[in-house]
């Protein structure tokens, strides 16, 4: 009996620490995931040139309303884990779309997604230049395209 209780004691402690490790692991992955996105406009608006996507409405738990995503040279959107903007909705394709920076402008390109990519409600079939204020719709998520140089505080 004593031996059993001793074993239970150590298993109990082990369970608590496994729990703690698991929480820690989730917190770190959460931080890493969020670290890839730039939050708030205070930090970003200092740059003279650049753009971001603001989530206006979202059915996707991975993207919260009001979230701001900084756009780099290439931003990939889709369900695959390699994407810069990861989506979890089943309406999103694995490689859904990308936004590329070229000749001083941002272009949205659909990567042959099944459910399509929309700019201001119109489905995109070839790379389209994005203009400040455009709305981009992908798999139930609506983003607003914002270019800082045009932004009026």
């Amino acid at each position: 009996m004593k031996a059993i209780l001793l074993i239970i004691k150590f298993i109990t402690l082990a369970i608590i620490y496994l729990f703690i490790l698991r929480v820690f692991y989730f917190m770190v992955t959460d931080l890493r995931r969020r670290g890839n996105r730039v939050f708030g406009q205070a930090e970003t608006s200092r740059a003279s040139n650049g753009a971001e996507l603001v989530v206006i409405s979202s059915n996707d738990p991975a993207l919260k309303q009001g979230e701001v995503i900084h756009l780099g040279r290439q931003t990939h959107l889709g369900r695959g884990s390699h994407n810069n903007i990861k989506m979890t909705s089943s309406f999103a394709s694995h490689n859904h779309a990308r936004i590329i920076f070229q000749d001083d402008g941002f272009f949205l390109e659909d990567l042959n997604s099944i459910n399509g990519t929309y700019i201001n409600g119109v489905r995109v079939s070839e790379p389209v230049p994005l203009v400040h204020g455009d709305t981009v719709g992908i798999a139930g998520v609506t983003f607003k395209f914002v270019r800082w140089e045009y932004e009026v505080e």
């Binding site: 209780l5 004691k9 150590f10 369970i15 729990f19 929480v23 989730f26």
Partner: protein
């Protein structure tokens, strides 16, 4: 089938909570200690089953509502509550049933708050009603309160005793968040220099003085040192967060020190507390008995503890409320004690993360305030039982026996999760 919900982390973490709870129960069964053995195996299995089901139901409901709030807080606090239940069962079997009922009341309050408070920002609009409510509750306690354990902070409702200061704590944080958000600029701007130290002008010290007076009233009329300390500590943290000025913290601490010193000379029970803290060995059989038993419990636990149900924590008076941390440390050792503290650190970390991500100033202040309330309370009681600070009787949030404390802790949790869902 693949899991496709929105609260995957929460679900994954819950497995550990439930496992831990059952292991704790089995450990109690094995040792033949506490109610678990007395009530028979069948009943304890039923008890365990109902608690596990209750916790899982809450998780499933959150998932069903597609609630987007924080996924760490609820498993973390459930772990604490599970540890608390196991300890109550082990320490004061007669109270276990009541604590069990209170846990469900707490969970219900949590769900109701999460569900009904769709827009927490509206809380900002009723600040002066809060002051009124808080004053009524406190005055009621002072006038009609009953005394227990040297503090007059309970109101007897017939069926159950209720501790208004637990609810007042939350009301106060909500009030301070909306008040400070409103007056932030005024409070930040006006300072004068006095010997190189920035001192806020007199009109800005107003709220500080009011809060100070409020804490002192609590201290004097309710003899409730712990709660006064928690109120004032939380207030200082919040005013610092909203203004970013150390001068408030220095000035506030100075005022508190002044008040505490005055109380030391005016009231014998304060003197006793301090004397026990400085040297409990002088009166081992009398006033120092409790804290010394607590220290013995901590010491006899060693690194890995005696095992749940195998120590003698019942030697400590009031072990199930204020000293539950000592009992836990005796039976799970240093390793278990550190685990509990890490869990609190995680909760506090998440709380401040929520504050940082909140969309409005009010949300940020509210989240930070609630988190610091929890942090200060944990520090005060853990510090108290380990003789780091003078002992003041407050509960260990989520773990200690005590209905009002458990319910108010769960309401605080619900508020935090609500804020995180918007942020």
């Amino acid at each position: 089938m693949m899991y496709s919900g929105t609260r995957g982390h929460e679900r994954a973490l819950f497995i550990y909570v439930i496992l831990f709870f059952w292991l704790g129960l089995f450990s109690l069964l094995g040792t033949g200690n506490g109610t678990v053995a007395a009530a028979g195996i069948k009943q304890s299995l039923l008890f365990g089953g109902v608690v596990s089901l209750g916790l899982i139901t809450v998780h499933l409901l959150l998932e069903k509502w597609k609630f987007r709030g924080d996924q760490f807080l609820f498993p973390l606090t459930s772990m604490l509550s599970a540890a608390g239940l196991v300890m109550i069962l082990r320490l004061k079997p007669d109270y276990a049933m009541r604590q069990f009922v209170w846990l469900f009341v707490g969970l219900a309050a949590f769900l109701v708050t999460v569900r009904l408070l769709q827009n927490y920002k509206r809380l900002e609009d009723y600040k002066y009603i809060y002051v009124l409510a808080a004053l009524i509750l406190l005055l009621g306690t002072i006038l009609f309160g009953v005394e227990a354990g040297g503090a007059r902070s309970w109101i007897d409702l017939g069926v159950a005793r209720f501790q208004p200061s637990e609810i007042v704590k939350i009301i106060l944080v909500i009030f301070l968040a909306s008040y400070l958000e409103d007056k932030k600029e005024v409070l930040t701007v006006g300072t004068r220099n006095l010997w190189g130290i920035p001192v806020p002008g007199l009109q800005y010290v107003g709220p500080l003085l009011v809060m100070w007076g409020f804490s002192l009233v609590l201290l004097i009329f309710q003899k409730d040192l712990g709660t006064a300390l928690i109120f004032f500590g939380t207030f200082l943290v919040m005013i610092y967060i909203s203004t970013g000025r150390w001068s408030y913290v220095f000035f506030g601490s100075f005022l508190f020190g002044l008040g505490a010193t005055a109380c030391y000379f005016l009231f014998s029970h304060v003197r006793v507390r301090v004397a026990i803290w400085l040297n409990p060995w002088a009166d081992i059989e009398g006033r120092g008995y409790q804290i010394i038993q607590s220290l013995f419990a901590l010491g006899s636990g060693g690194a890995f503890g005696t095992g749940i149900g195998l120590g003698q924590p019942n030697l400590i008076p009031a072990v199930h409320t204020d000293f539950v941390f000592s009992a836990w440390s005796e039976e799970t050792g240093l390793v278990g004690a550190i685990a509990i503290l890490i869990i609190y650190c995680f909760i506090i970390y998440r709380g401040f993360r929520i504050a940082l991500a909140a969309q409005t100033g009010f949300g940020a202040l509210l989240a930070a305030g609630l988190t610091s309330l929890l942090a200060v309370q944990t520090l005060v009681i853990v510090g108290g039982v380990t003789k780091l600070l003078p002992l003041t009787g407050v509960t260990l949030p989520f773990v200690s026996y005590g209905g009002s404390s458990l319910v108010s802790s769960y309401i605080m949790l619900a508020l935090l999760m609500r804020i995180s869902a918007e942020g």
